[in-house]
């Protein structure tokens, strides 16, 4: 390893850490996640209950509703994550200051993932409380792994597509159209894995693990392609 490579390696990680810390600090100060996104996710869960209007049906579809609510909230959070960057042209300044794009990607992805973990945890608690989903010990191991892998994939895709549309007019309406089709595998995989963690319809826990493979493949593919692709996207 040459000194040049080592230097780039450390700057990428250093940048990532700085960006992630900055995003989380902005989040802690503004409390958008706490005061807006989490209440939104909760009200979505309550509205599902109104729409479906049956305890049996709710218990049956609880895993899917958790992840649907998570996806909708992800859309808001991605918009927010890049609105912060582009509002004062901060992204352009970072790039013109020679900050590596890969570091920006990893940092923003980590910050987004941290917020998503909080969100999904809350949604699962809501499913247990509101929809009477039941969680065993072996199920909770699967559930935690699923939650981490799925949020990692969501954060990667979200950061990538958020960066793609960043700074363009009308991105708020465009982002859902771009993002939802891409995250369909996460919805399918995470829902099935959560079903077996909850034991919905008598699905055993062991049946959930193959779905975790799908989630892991998704997370790895989009993390790598995001780290590579964000540079050319932001360059001008």
């Amino acid at each position: 390893m040459t000194s040049q490579q080592r230097l780039t390696g450390t700057t990428v990680i250093g940048t990532a850490r700085l960006i992630a810390a900055k995003d989380l600090r902005v989040e802690l100060r503004s409390r958008v996640l706490l005061n807006q996104v989490l209440p939104f996710a909760l009200i979505v869960m309550v509205m599902f209950a109104f729409a479906l209007d049956s305890d049996a049906v709710l218990e049956r579809v609880a895993p899917g509703l958790v992840w649907l609510a998570a996806l909708f909230s992800t859309l808001i959070m991605v918009s927010r994550s890049f609105a912060v960057e582009t509002a004062d042209g901060a992204l352009d300044q970072l790039r013109s200051a020679g900050v590596p794009a890969m570091g920006i990607f990893i940092g923003k992805m980590m910050a987004l993932m941290a917020q998503l973990v909080v969100l999904v945890t809350l949604l699962i608690i809501a499913a247990i409380v509101l929809y009477r989903a039941e969680l065993s010990w072996s199920g909770s191991v699967l559930l935690v792994t699923t939650g981490l892998t799925a949020t990692c994939g969501l954060a990667a895709v979200g950061t990538l597509y958020g960066g793609l549309a960043a700074g363009a007019k009308g991105r708020e309406t465009l982002l859902p159209l771009l993002l939802l089709p891409v995250v369909a595998p996460v919805l399918i995989g995470a829902t099935r894995a959560t079903e077996s963690a909850f034991g919905t319809r008598g699905v055993s826990t062991s049946q959930g693990w193959p779905w975790l493979g799908l989630l892991a493949v998704f997370a790895v593919l989009f993390s790598v392609s995001g780290a590579v692709a964000l540079g050319p996207l932001l360059d001008d």
Binding site: L160, A168, L178, P181, R192, W211, A229
Partner: protein
């Protein structure tokens, strides 16, 4: 200069003539001359319009992906690749929309339902939506280079996305029992004339695709030039204004 020569050349005119001729022949063969199928009956006639359309839609998206890669590769970087990608995606969305509709009509006759959650159908619908998003990104504005780079990256991401969606839907389907589809059998036993009609359909649709993409790519170039000249005009006006004020 006659005004209908905007994007046409003798070549595209000749091509257009053959496309019209082929379309006519396809309609005659497909609806009137070719025989009904043993299993499907008359409904097999939809196949001659549906299958070539779907095949061309997929081809169009492959062309989009390849020309996007050609744009991103530094040695072949040219806005022409970007315009070909855009033209091809637009035509692809058109063909895919058409074949989704004709496919569900055909499905209604043969399976007894407009839609099934089969992996191929679902992936096709996702491809359709993804490329609608792609076209929307092309319309976001910014410089031509910005548009080209954004959309090229998006087209390559779609190449990543589509197999994942296909695989996850297939995986999902194998674990759930499929809804049994009632209705007539779906096997088509092709005789010579039916095969010929289908082959003709593929040829006609391919020529139609080439004609459409050639024209669309040229008209995209005209629109780009118009944008540029609009910018030049605005700049000149500003300059003229500045000198007037300065005097």
């Amino acid at each position: 200069m006659s005004k209908d020569q905007a994007t046409s050349t003798p070549f595209t005119k000749g091509l257009g003539f053959f496309v019209l001729l082929g379309m006519l022949l396809l309609i005659i063969l497909g609806i009137f001359v070719s025989p009904a199928d043993v299993n499907q009956g008359e409904s097999v006639r939809i196949m001659y319009a549906h299958v070539p359309g779907a095949w061309l839609a997929y081809l169009a998206f492959i062309v989009t992906a390849v020309s996007s890669a050609a744009y991103l590769w530094k040695r072949t970087r040219s806005l022409t690749w970007d315009r070909i990608a855009g033209a091809s995606a637009e035509v692809g969305v058109l063909f895919m929309g058409i074949s989704l509709v004709t496919g569900s009509l055909w499905g209604r006759l043969t399976w007894g339902t407009y839609w099934t959650w089969d992996a191929r159908l679902t992936t096709t619908a996702f491809l359709f939506v993804t490329y609608i998003g792609y076209l929307a990104v092309r319309g976001l504005g910014g410089t031509h280079q910005q548009r080209a780079r954004r959309s090229a990256v998006l087209a390559l991401l779609a190449v990543l996305e589509i197999p994942l969606v296909h695989f996850s839907v297939e995986f999902w389907n194998t674990l759930h029992q499929k809804a049994s589809v009632a209705g007539r059998g779906t096997n088509v036993e092709m005789n010579g004339l039916m095969l010929f009609t289908l082959f003709l359909g593929v040829v006609v649709f391919t020529l139609m695709y080439v004609w459409l993409v050639l024209h669309r790519q040229r008209s995209l170039m005209l629109e780009d030039m118009l944008d540029d000249s609009g910018l030049d005009n605005a700049l000149n006006e500003r300059r003229a204004e500045a000198t007037r004020v300065g005097n």
